[in-house]
Symmetry: C2
Subunit: 407 residues, 2 copies
């Protein structure tokens, strides 16, 4: 019988508790499958436990504290002391990835973080291992369950953003302070990690441009529904002429898009490459038990071999002027000539219109349009001009639209 | 600079050619990521090449010959000679898995076969590695692209099975002799492999009960569409009271089912477990380039460590009497009392009806029903009785229906 593999657990919140329980349930089965039985060597809580003592006793350190202080310090100490590390901490990897990967490489140990993106959906593993042999062109998807729940709820009930956020909080899908989720920062950190792995280039948090969902109005969703569109907060990392682009933005998808049916707190990620066309993976986003399962999966992987080496294959430029198609919602005065003036501004800026719906009378009059794809700078220039038109009754609302061709 | 890793390639058909080309394109990038550059040591074709000489020169043997003779002999020789093996050969793994895994274990080498099921969709890796930490309860999905293409085509065009098969053959989605695909044997071999890995138990080909799609009529699909159902050839491997069940059968899915939107030659597999709810993975089924990409992914994995150990955790019973819900299509004489007689037979066999549609007049009269779930033996007993009713104008047509609850 081989020695058990001893695990030092840092942090004992929801995920830590679930991990502790899962180890108790599955230790024997893992012992059979992976050759060594995992056991907990010690637990560090905010109020108790001695990090040095736990490190001494452990072969693998599992970091589930969250935040970057003191998690960064502990993880670096563990890596430098020759311990493998598993973490679910996306901020740690997104902000300090270079430093952490270097430390792991210098010590010849593994740093694994499947749970940091899309919970138990194995997107990290698939990009690093299954798809190591191919050149990925694009990774995109729904990587924040809180916002996907809120948008699904707005679409199905017609309720406001604020009401749906409250409902998400009641159900435990949103935190008391939801700003990281709803503002897009959480998804941005995850996309920085995915872009780094998919393209083999360092990607800093500041390289990711992001928007959230706080400005979305119920009637945007209602009008778009009539056009066959559904709204998602999308993370997109892709190769572009001259480099890569990594962005997070709310976006309408046509009904046939593989991500359109992903509802509620689920995550889904698509990977595209010429060699594979595309693969799609979906499942529940972060939850205590799911995250713990992903962490334990990483522990099992450590038992079965060395991780793929994280070497930046070069440094790619961040490309910022992207082409996109836009949905544009204008509350306008109810009088002739309004559409002509808007169309004139768009035309002069070489933005071409794909569809227009005019709706409502009097104080309810509005124009809802979808544009053909064009450089975003050109659209935003037109938008700026449109915002000054005197017949507008409110700020113009613009949201990106993605329609892709699929096999 | 490390030595290159030398690969002996057995077979040089479509997949072999694509693999050869992919190695040429990606060798440098893999060298950077995995530490060693792959190169082809030799190629064995049907008409040329010396297996012993190629084996001597290789560290990894890639088997892309297909069939079991002489592939089995060569793969066993390679494993026994201490070579890692990558194969895309589902029949080899499904029929001779026990023998092959034993040989790999005895020699301490890896046997990898991601490409054998669902092409580049990484279902093998996810079940063996990501989900090694959890107890999987069910693996199911669409694992044959040929039949999914034919069924999609029947649904969208209303054309007959024979016409859609011909179209699949023209497009290269079906072989000249399509019987393994359309009869369900191909999907059965894949499900035997998935069941073995998911449940850690030996599963022989004979343990998988299967049906194909050759008897499907266009009007079954048309009527079912009215009920919101779409037809798929489904493979299902699941834990059941007393053991496991592994089956392949055509099946109607309700529109909200995650597999319902999978169209054309795509594959999709879902994995369920209490700890993870469910994850879904989808992408293109077998194609030369996709299969080659999956094979090369396995080569990269071999470079990064040892594979999870394939140990049967015990032998589970195959459970054969499953409960299912059925769609039943009866061509009947157009006269009063027909429904009452059918309902009487069903009632006496304790099969309860969920919905009924009566359609057509005279020679077109028919009853289309969907049953509530009940033990299949009970339904088939009722069906046998119904088949003898004198007012039937043709054989009753029964197809399973799956409606699952999703979060």
């Amino acid at each position: 019988v081989s020695d058990p593999v001893r695990i030092g657990l840092l942090g004992r919140g929801t995920v830590g508790d679930a991990f502790h329980e899962l180890i108790a349930q599955r230790a024997d089965a893992i012992g059979v499958a992976a050759g060594r039985r995992p056991e907990i060597a010690g637990v560090l809580r905010r109020s108790e436990g001695d990090f040095e003592a736990i490190l001494d006793e452990s072969e693998i350190v599992v970091e589930l504290m969250g935040g970057t202080e003191p998690a960064l310090e502990y993880v670096l100490l563990a890596l430098r002391a020759g311990r493998h590390v598993v973490t679910a901490n996306k901020q740690l990897i997104a902000q300090f990835g270079d430093q952490l990967f270097d430390a792991a490489r210098m010590s010849g140990v593994q740093l694994r973080f499947e749970a940091a993106v899309a919970g138990v959906v194995p997107v990290i593993r698939v990009i690093q291992e299954s798809l190591a042999a191919i050149e990925i062109t694009k990774v995109f998807g729904i990587v924040n369950g809180t916002t996907n729940f809120i948008l699904s709820e707005m679409a199905s009930t017609g309720a406001s953003y604020a009401d749906c956020l409250r409902r998400a909080q009641e159900l435990g899908y949103a935190e008391a302070d939801p700003s990281d989720d709803v503002g897009g920062a959480d998804a941005a950190a995850k996309m920085a990690i995915l872009a780094r792995l998919a393209f083999g280039t360092p990607v800093a948090l500041g390289d990711v441009s992001y928007e959230g969902i706080t400005e979305i109005q119920p009637d945007d969703i209602a009008y778009a529904k009539e056009l066959g569109l559904s709204l998602k907060l999308l993370g997109v990392a892709e190769r572009r002429e001259g480099g890569i682009s990594v962005r997070v933005f709310p976006c309408f998808l046509y009904a046939h898009h593989p991500l359109a049916p992903i509802e509620g707190p689920f995550n889904a990620v698509m990977v595209q490459a010429p060699t594979i066309t595309e693969i799609t993976m979906s499942g529940p986003g972060a939850g205590g038990v799911e995250t713990a399962a992903a962490v334990l999966g990483d522990v099992v992987s450590i038992l079965s071999g060395k991780a793929p080496v994280h070497v930046a294959r070069g440094s790619l430029e961040i490309v910022r002027d992207i082409s996109s198609s836009f949905y544009l919602h204008l509350e306008v005065a109810d009088r002739p000539g309004v559409l002509a003036q808007v169309a004139d501004v768009l035309g002069r800026n070489e933005v071409s219109v794909q569809s227009v719906v005019q709706r409502g009378m009097g104080d309810e009059a509005r124009l809802v349009m979808v544009m053909h794809e064009c450089p975003e700078s050109r659209f935003f220039k037109a938008l700026e001009e449109i915002a000054t038109l005197e017949f507008l009754r409110g700020q113009p609302r613009a949201i990106r639209v993605i329609e892709e061709e699929f096999v």
